[in-house]
Symmetry: C2
């Protein structure tokens, strides 16, 4: 290496080592400088310098003494979880939702802005309102803004290439927000952030690679490979919602027919449930016959649970049509899972989003279909589970993205 | 970093720098030490030490002087392409094929061993015969043996987990060959090596990521991401041949029905063509009616070319059934391509294997199906082409694997 390169490398190494110190304290809970040195293979001097840096910035504090190993008892360090805050935003549901989140992914404040069918500039203005509200609600220094958006993203440039429902095309979201608020901004697709949420704050923080299939308004997959979001050449990795699943199926808003979204999205289930409510006087949704637009995915879920079919009971003929919707959606998700196994040979797939209210009825069908439709030797090593993270998943993934980019907390 | 770690790193850095020097000379054709230093950002001393090392081992030679830039004209270096040899083996066709290959992927000797339906230990014995023949045919030091095998591989351990046609299960191929020949052995799936062949010796050496869909006896995809083979958690990445494509389709040897292989493999086309030859007296294959087992994929290809339907002419009704086989295969490959785009968002897909004899008739249908069945904004950025590498593809990929692992020539 030449001198210039060496110098650059030394500077990078110093920043890298500093992040490693913080990550080690973060992961360790309460830990001494000596144990940080042991865990990282860094010299004690490097660790002490790093600790001093983070203490000065308020991220780390000393919290008393640990047990003595014979000599002087060691001072223990911990991360001050509420020393800084992050703003996480989810643009992928019926309302724009955001939260002020601390360093542990704990939500400190929330705000929502009902979308009411707004799109284009009006929808953008709603983000400004939401972010301004949340910034006003912070009471600690803000590390940055993380945004999960539906549609096709260029995460490098922070540009929304296309979000059909919001009528956005080539919207430079990062640039606009960065200029407006003077804060670091990180943007990614909502399904990708759902996967990152599992990897950062979820139960999946030990898995190197995982896929989250998220079904709400649309359907998409988020792919984490070796601890990092995988975006693909055209940044459309995981855009499985518009892969054809049903031959000559229903038209999709993307222009094709029979896309996964037309069968497996919460929206598709709700739309078909509304038709059933209107047309079938014996349906468990019959009391919505006059205002089917009030039916949501939770309504469908409740109706099936009460009729016993979700919990495994015998479905009446009237309930069967509704239960079939769920089976069709689950089967379509199983086909998608089989494709994912065939291409990625992934061991861990999680189902997330509002369709998870159907629980094991959905999950069992997804698993069975996946096994039936891919190489058994590979698929049998793939676990499919329902995500336990709930509706804040994208907000938490967006926060995790900021913490990874700005502090290196969840770097592989 | 502590002292021990520093020392380890220095040793690694030295080996890494040395490989970088060789790679730079290899890529440069004829290049001076000064230009290697400029290209690598290494010091002149490091470059000179590296060059001396490779000259002593015979990999590099001085080849006269370059143009003077004012002072003393610089000595030019080049890789001695035939200084060392690699043995590349392809176990994925009807016969076991191998070659002695030089550092540029040029084949110096060949050997084949007809399989004649052998499997299990008999098939393994055939590899020994093939490798021994090839070792005897080398006339330079051998860097290692690279093997492309059908089935599911553990490339880390070099174990064939399952190869149905060869009736192998958990066969420690690398271990067996390494012990027998005392040479480095690298093993991978044949489709993966097809992709590596494109990346190393093919026209695709500038693409960071690409997928090769190979259809011969079976169908599989090889996936190169960021210049490296992607294997997946269960090492089954790209095992798309057993993903269901046809609802209630033909039974597959994997136990499921309607797998991609049952429609899109050269074998499936040939099997169906044999039925047509037997049952359809007007078919272009009618002269095989009495011995349909002589029909190969090339026979089918020739029959369609002569009848004009492959070159775009009007097909007679008798030819139509045969042409339909190709369209069905192409459509199934297009569905697979759509799935690959949905999951990986890849910009470059190549079709390889013996089905490529159908040329643009196949290719056009694959492209059209892919576009119809995935998100247009992503798929429109994906180029699908027919590989130009021909039947030595797996042998070359296996050789490229050895050169990458042993010398770092094609490391990203």
């Amino acid at each position: 290496m030449n001198r210039r390169a060496q110098k650059a490398t030394r500077k990078q190494t110093k920043a890298h080592n500093r992040r490693l110190v913080l990550k080690t304290i973060y992961d360790g809970g309460r830990i001494s400088r000596a144990d940080v040195a042991r865990a990282t293979d860094l010299t004690r001097t490097t660790v002490s310098d790093g600790v001093a840096w983070w203490i000065e910035k308020g991220f780390v504090e000393e919290v008393g003494f640990g047990p003595s190993a014979g000599g002087k008892p060691p001072i223990l360090l911990r991360v001050v979880d509420d020393s800084h805050q992050v703003i996480g935003i989810d643009l992928a549901s019926d309302e724009f939702r955001g939260a002020v989140v601390n360093l542990r992914g704990e939500i400190r404040e929330r705000s929502t802005q009902p979308l009411n069918d707004r799109d284009g500039k009006a929808a953008l203005a709603l983000i400004y309102t939401l972010v301004s509200d949340l910034i006003a609600a912070t009471d600690r220094p803000i590390l940055g803004i993380g945004i999960g958006t539906p549609g096709l993203m260029d995460p490098i440039q922070g540009v929304v290439r296309r979000a059909v429902n919001l009528d956005w095309q080539d919207l430079p979201l990062r640039h606009l927000l960065k200029n407006r608020y003077g804060l670091p901004v990180h943007v990614a697709n909502d399904s990708q952030l759902a996967a990152l949420a599992e990897y950062t704050f979820g139960a999946e923080n030990n898995a190197d690679s995982l896929v989250v299939i998220k079904s709400d308004h649309g359907v998409g997959a988020g792919i984490v490979l070796n601890g990092q979001l995988f975006h693909g050449d055209s940044f459309g990795a995981g855009e499985i919602g518009h892969v054809t699943i049903v031959e000559n199926g229903q038209p999709c808003r993307c222009g094709n027919v029979g896309c996964l979204e037309t069968v497996a999205s919460a929206r598709a289930i709700v739309q078909q449930a509304r038709t059933i409510a209107r047309d079938n006087p014996g349906s468990p949704l019959r009391h919505f016959a006059d205002n089917p637009e009030r039916i949501t995915i939770d309504t469908v879920c409740d109706a099936l649970t009460q009729s016993g079919s979700v919990s495994g009971g015998e479905a009446s003929a009237d309930t069967a049509a509704l239960a079939d919707l769920v089976q069709q959606a689950a089967r379509a998700l199983g086909i998608a899972a089989a494709n994912l196994v065939g291409v990625l040979s992934i061991k861990r797939i999680l189902i997330a989003g509002s369709v998870t209210c159907f629980g094991s009825v959905l999950l069992d069908q997804v698993r069975a279909t996946m096994l039936q439709r891919s190489l058994a030797l590979v698929a049998s090593e793939t676990e499919v589970e329902i995500s336990t993270m709930g509706p804040d998943m994208v907000i938490l993934g967006a926060s995790g993205l900021v913490l990874t980019q700005e502090l290196g907390l969840f770097a592989p």
